[in-house]
């Protein structure tokens, strides 16, 4: 990692992979969902279309979904690497990926309504930096679409309407309500990233970080692993189905993280990731060697 090296081209490739190649764990979950749907109804048609679409996007190196979302990345870096430069390079990569049509120009000036045209804007992309002891840079990113972002929710417990107190049963009730409220609008079947605790800002960040986890991993905290499994089963029992057409596949996975909280606050925060659960990761070692991670 010399002082003059630019990471822009590596980051463009990272973004291309995220936008056009659905990760293996997500594809597998979609295939399992399709196998579990019966008859030839709308749920089957929807999932067949989704699976065909995933193949086409990979073949053509074209965006899986036209809403290429907000690029959100978590960057670990060794001592001495300039985060300002990493930020500049990542911003340049977003602009380049937009001009190559891996991304849609997706940043709009909120006051004037004008599209910046470059894919980048104030707060876009959204980058999290953390220094670590390893001698390499690791970038893990997601593309978070707007439709699914709109059905995210934050609950403040206790919640009388839901009979939800400040315990894991209360968390369960809030999350099931969020799945019900979302119906198919977040492009079901979706993945839930959940945070228990935290404040209104840190909690949403944690929900997004949970989305980096492999769909089939097991939460190291036993009570959370049990809750994840139960919520996945019960969310699917709601019968909302792919696209909200009705069916068995409403959720692909549920991932829960925990942050400490203020005595006065107990938030349950839910981010909904659409079936196009786009994530990609790369490691860049000291010599500039690039390794693509899954």
């Amino acid at each position: 990692m010399s002082a003059t090296e630019s990471y822009t081209e590596t980051f463009v490739e990272l973004i291309r992979r995220a936008s056009t190649e659905l990760p293996a764990d997500v594809l597998e979950a979609l295939q399992e969902g399709r196998a579990g749907e019966e008859g030839g109804g709308l749920a089957c048609i929807a999932l067949d279309t989704v699976l065909t679409n995933v193949d086409m996007a990979r073949e053509d190196s074209a965006p899986i979904c036209q809403d290429t979302g907000t690029p959100v990345a978590w960057i670990h870096y060794p001592v001495g690497v300039s985060t300002r430069r990493l930020k500049e390079d990542f911003g340049a990569a977003v602009r380049e990926a937009t001009s190559r049509r891996y991304l849609r120009p997706n940043a709009v000036n909120t006051l004037t309504g004008a599209n910046t045209g470059t894919g980048a804007g104030r707060g876009i992309p959204f980058l999290h930096f953390e220094e670590w002891d390893e001698p390499r840079i690791e970038v893990r990113m997601i593309l978070k679409g707007g439709g699914s972002e709109n059905v995210g929710a934050q609950y403040k417990l206790p919640d009388g309407r839901l009979g939800a107190g400040r315990d894991l049963e209360g968390v369960r009730r809030a999350v099931l309500d969020a799945v019900f409220q979302a119906q198919g609008k977040g492009c079901a079947p979706g993945v839930l990233g959940i945070c228990i605790g935290g404040d209104r800002v840190s909690a949403f960040e944690e929900t997004k970080r949970q989305l980096l986890r492999p769909l089939k991993d097991t939460n190291p905290a036993r009570e959370l692993a049990e809750l994840e499994e139960r919520l996945l089963a019960e969310g699917n029992e709601l019968g909302i189905g792919p696209m909200g057409f009705g069916g068995k596949t409403t959720l692909l996975a549920v991932k829960i993280g925990v942050l400490d909280r203020l005595p006065a606050c107990y938030f349950v925060t839910v981010s909904y990731m659409c079936w196009a659960d786009r994530k990609a990761a790369v490691s860049i070692d000291e010599g500039g060697e690039v390794q693509w991670l899954s």
Partner: protein, 195 residues
């Protein structure tokens, strides 16, 4: 699966029911948040020929520009329709639309507009941007590109075998209402709240 040619007559549209899977061929136009506001604030005569007896597609595409100045849709799935709920029924009735394509379904005001003016809500598969872009062989024209930007502009497109499901019809039927009611009953059961 039925073929549906655009433009379509009111009679053809009133024959469609919730659960039908149809393929559209012909000319349609895209329009989302900015477009609906724009269409309602004033009568926009220049787009009437593209709306009358056709459908509006809630879509913000990724678009490639060719050297001769023509355009191609690179990725073109539906966006969430419910944001247009305040405008949709009025746009349908004022401009004589026969349908709306989007995702996620719409509300009571739109459902009423569909019945009153003879139109349907057609659900495309959300996120299926490549399948749907391949069903759009040609971009004819664009309105408000400079003002609204690529995703929000009104793109006049030719489609061939464009796959959609009827999820709200012109007789008051809504798959979205049915699924919501059933899932609400199940939610109450899971929460032990009874009905």
């Amino acid at each position: 699966m039925a073929e549906l040619k655009l433009p379509a007559s009111e009679k053809t549209i009133r024959n469609l029911s919730v659960g039908d899977f149809v393929e559209l061929s012909g000319r349609m136009i895209t329009g989302r948040d900015e477009a609906h506001k724009w269409l309602i604030e004033e009568q926009r005569d220049e787009v009437v020929p593209y709306l009358k007896d056709s459908v509006i597609y809630h879509c913000g595409p990724v678009v490639g520009e060719n050297e001769d100045g023509s355009y191609d849709f690179v990725a073109a799935g539906p966006t969430t329709s419910i944001r247009e709920e305040p405008y949709q029924a009025d746009v349908i009735c004022r401009y004589g639309l026969r349908g709306v394509i989007g995702k996620g379904g719409m509300g009571a005001k739109t459902l009423d507009g569909l019945a009153r003016c003879g139109a349907v809500y057609l659900h495309a598969v959300g996120g299926a941007a490549q399948v749907l872009a391949r069903a759009i062989p040609r971009v004819e024209k664009v309105f408000m590109l400079e003002e609204f930007g690529v995703p929000e502009a009104l793109w006049v497109i030719q489609v061939e075998h464009f796959p959609v499901m009827v999820t709200m019809d012109s007789h008051g039927g809504s798959l979205h209402d049915e699924v919501e009611e059933r899932s609400q009953a199940k939610l109450k059961e899971l929460l032990g709240q009874g009905t």
